[in-house]
Symmetry: C2
Subunit: 328 residues, 2 copies
């Protein structure tokens, strides 16, 4: 199977590294970062590209753009792993459309296109008869989409509840464990690399809400938008609130909830029993899926990380290889 890899940040480097290391039957024929690209129909050595990127700061030829790679390279699957732009979804939406127009399968870790153009992109993929997969967008390494689609096949999904932002969970865990204030815990999260310089998207609950929108649309296909989600962040939480919860053997977590029967689509700090499976520590993510037959299934794992996210992308690639490319 031939792939074009667009984006060489932490996720892209993780994917390239795993393709180099593992015998997955995947050949990279096109690769691009934000400033350069490389096309080689006979295959690009990912280890060499990563090395070149490290030394030269770019992965290929500055005259070749990501758009060129998408339009000209010979590949089966576009791996779109450029950074999420939650306002415009670009340039990812443009990239994905260009590849779909060429009837290429899509694997992405980019939440922007999913949050902003879910229906348009999935409809276009269906019309072209190609796969559009995005396991990495929600819950990092946790195979949430696979579980919804296959593991729980035949079940009616009644609701989902999740801890979907590692930054918030790390901050809340530290506030409880060490009695830190929100600001102290945030500072520590920054130092540990769990929070970005501008943590607004994370701590205000927006990143979690985007993931909830992706989940809800995947499960129920109602075409909900970010503006449909009632969102409260963790930035106003006090150590007192956490202490009060502790007294009842509870704690507070930023929980995303979707339950169509109650028209519920909400992200908010919730008081939750400590023994509940969703109460995970540190930067972990967790999702409880409520179904008619299996009842409650909870999945826990790393919500971020270069190789962890690569795991989700490679799972999608192997699925496409098995279901589409090998069959063709």
């Amino acid at each position: 199977m031939k792939v074009a890899l667009i984006g060489l940040g932490a996720v892209g480097r993780g994917v390239a590294g795993m393709i180099a290391k593992k015998d997955l039957g995947i050949t990279i024929t096109g690769i691009a970062d934000s400033r350069s690209g490389c096309i080689e129909d006979t295959g690009i050595d990912p280890a060499e590209v990563l090395d070149h990127k490290k030394k030269a700061g770019v992965c290929g030829d500055r005259k070749i753009s990501a758009a060129d790679v998408i339009k000209k390279a010979d590949y089966d699957v576009l791996i779109e792993v450029t950074p999420t732009n939650a306002l415009s979804g670009e340039p990812a939406i443009r990239y994905i459309k260009a590849a779909l127009a060429r009837k290429k399968h899509i694997v992405t870790s980019n939440k922007g296109p999913l949050a902003l153009a879910y229906r348009e992109l999935t409809t276009m993929a269906a019309k072209k008869g190609v796969a559009f997969r995005y396991e990495a967008t929600v819950g990092g390494a946790i195979p949430i989409m696979h579980t919804l689609e296959h593991g729980l096949a035949g079940n009616e999904i009644l609701a989902v509840y999740g801890v979907l932002n590692g930054t918030c969970n790390y901050i809340l865990t530290r506030m409880v464990a060490e009695g830190l204030t929100y600001d102290q815990a945030l500072m520590e999260a920054r130092e540990m690399g769990y929070a970005e310089a501008d943590p607004t998207y994370d701590v205000k609950g927006i990143d979690t809400a985007i993931k909830l929108v992706i989940l809800a649309n995947t499960i129920w296909g109602h075409g909900v938008k970010l503006s449909d989600v009632s969102v409260t962040g963790i930035d106003l939480l006090t150590p007192d609130a956490l202490r009060l919860a502790e007294e009842d053997d509870c704690t507070i977590r930023l929980i995303a909830e979707a339950m169509p029967s109650r028209r519920l689509l909400r992200v908010s700090p919730r008081i939750i029993e400590k023994s509940h499976p969703l109460v995970v520590d540190g930067s972990l993510n967790a999702l409880t899926i409520e179904t008619d037959m299996a009842k409650e299934i909870t999945l826990i794992g790393k919500g971020a990380g270069s190789v962890e996210t690569a795991s989700a992308i490679i799972g999608d690639l192997l699925y496409i290889n098995d279901r589409y490319v090998q069959r063709a």
Copy 2:
């Protein structure tokens, strides 16, 4: 897709009930309990059979045996859900072999054949070009096999750690929560229907060990046997041991562990931090899968129950329908 359903205990009734209730594209053409059977090439109404079984005590004609149904009915998949016999694996092994000889796919919830004849049966299924699936044998409703096979595709599985017996977990949870002795908690578990009259297999760790053997053979294919597992049960645990663990913010759970790199295959009560994802309450099951890319993924859910187990079986049926029957 046509199925033959052998066994009408809690699991079989759950499967029949869900096939009756849901529009899954599944037709039952043969059905049998321990004393009767029914063959109907044009389809059997599962609701009617369940009703008849309730009133008459048998599901069909006493002159028709399970073996007759397996040999004579027209079906694509044998659903083998007779009770587990951990000593002989019979009559399930015989049933499965008879269906495999007819090139029928197999879905089973029966741990006996998996623990005693794993290689023989999987080899026979491979030779015949049919599927042999057993999601329901480990972790009840939790889609463990699907996750290992698909959700974590491309990952190397390094180890598994699990809480795989709801009876033991219920007893341990109650010993801690209420300060009960082992005997008191066991009595309560019996009253609640979480423990059988003879709980030996559960509390001695044997049921957990059988599930660990099934997991290990599925993941690594080394052909391990029950006798390869080092097994300690929970029946000698004292409230004092649990209290000591509590003092360090830990608790005790019956943990199944398999890690080939350390030649580890063990079931034993382990002291474990309370915040660890494997520490689940009551009769829940949990499994942590340690991999090279995704790192640790934990799955939690109901390990038993009629409809919950039916969920796993129906997931296997829909998988076979999608991958084999529809393609044929």
